[in-house]
Symmetry: C2
Subunit: 242 residues, 2 copies
DNA sequence: GGGGGGCGGGATGTATACATTGGATGTATA
DNA sequence: TATACATCCAATGTATACATCCCGCCCCCC
């Protein structure tokens, strides 16, 4: 091992496996064999094992009956449920934040992200990359308003499923005009949500968060029905089988 | 190793660690050292490591910054949040079940459990052990009505925290009369919840499930305020610190 | 011909030696 | 005295050999 070792081998193995899974190299249900992987990655069994264990924590793998691991398979139903669940959790976070009141500094940060999101719309053109990044930041910052480690932890878990990330909202829009309309609507919901929290309207905040996720779910369902299956607009769609 | 090895050493190590954590032998925040544990348990580092990894998946341990594990510490806030979260998830499951309709056979099973729960009340005396067991079964069967692997998975995760189990409802009642009243009320909510699902009243089902957890949360808060800290009526209370 | 038992191979489980890392400690120098 | 650097130690990371278990196959006996 005279090579570059920027990180631990465990992390390298985990990264490599994660990439393959997300990009479809290892379809759902595939059984992973320690020896085969360690030979292929030129890494001994121990870190490979450790990496698989961590990916199981992330939810990409599951422990196979009788030992070992296999790639977790997701049905379309699983995917829509995950997105709905994300909405439920974000809604709960929003409601809790509204009920208990928020730190002004944190809230200012949320508004700042919203302003920067606005700037992604130039005329009828959208800077998708910037939007996605800021959108993720917004959802993250919003959830943190609830000050609950338990809620945040579970939310992180659900969002770690690649297809349940906030950017699912973008999907399913065939033309640019449709995308633009979708994102304008999403941004309006973002502002309404922040406003509801600031005004301490818990029930309203929760309802908006849920509706927001419901639309993302609908978009993803459309995308899938139209057959844009693996590797489409979003990495991680390759995970969806059955 | 000529001894009885009914299971793998990993499972033995995990069991032993879990017991110590739940019963307070290893307080929250305690760092776990592989060598020390392996010497103490007379098991080599590898299975100990594996066991810690699994307990991290369960949520009892967390990976320490810079490697290794430590016992997860729960504040009272974490605990109440976890119970509220359980209510949110059960509420979601109930709403989904109501909206999509339920399998009659499963629903019959739920009613059967409810009848058996009724029989735990004999006059003004309650068979607590039987009640706890059946109560857990009820909550489990109810959640399964939603037919969603994703929701069930997350719900299992939250319930695996010892203090977030359904039996938290029993806590915080000083006298037998108080307990009896509590359980009668809980059972009434159980029936109302099942009825709402059967009648496909999703919103109502969700609301009842949440209220049910809210009461459990209140009971646990009382218990804690009254200072019945570690090892009290429920194992797992020892986890709560700060 | 069918069933049972033994045998072999492949997979994970386990033990342990060695490598590496990161922090604590102590010392020398400015 | 403070800072920078060398050193050491303890803890995890890694490699690898060996043990064990499970399962399928085949052969032999009934």
């Amino acid at each position: 091992m005279s090579e570059s070792k920027s990180t631990t081998l465990t992390k390298r193995a985990a990264y490599e496996l994660r990439q393959r899974i997300i990009h479809g190299g290892l379809p759902g249900g595939t059984r992973l064999y320690e020896v085969a992987l360690s030979e292929e990655l030129q890494i001994s069994r121990t870190p490979v094992r450790e990496a698989m264990s961590r990916l199981a924590e992330e939810g990409l793998l599951e422990r196979a009956p009788g030992g070992g691991f296999q790639v977790r398979a997701f049905s379309l139903r699983d995917v829509t449920d995950a997105i709905e669940l994300r909405g439920v959790l974000e809604g709960t976070a929003a409601r809790m934040a509204a009920e208990q009141g928020v730190d002004p500094v944190q809230m200012a940060g949320v508004w700042a992200i919203l302003d920067r999101l606005d700037r992604c719309f130039a005329g009828d053109r959208v800077d998708f990359d910037a939007y996605s990044e800021l959108n993720a930041q917004f959802h993250c910052a919003l959830a943190e308003l609830c000050q609950s480690a338990v809620i945040l932890r579970e939310l992180e878990r659900v969002k770690s499923l690649p297809f349940a990330s906030p950017s699912a909202f973008v999907l399913g829009q065939a033309d640019a005009a449709g995308s633009h309309r979708s994102l304008v609507m999403a941004q309006a919901q973002h502002r309404a949500l922040a406003q509801a929290i600031a005004r301490r309207e818990g029930a309203r905040a929760e309802a908006i968060a849920r509706e927001h996720a419901r639309i993302a779910r609908g978009n993803l369902e459309e995308t899938f029905v139209e057959g844009a299956q693996p590797g489409g607009s979003m990495p991680g769609l390759a995970l969806i089988t059955r």
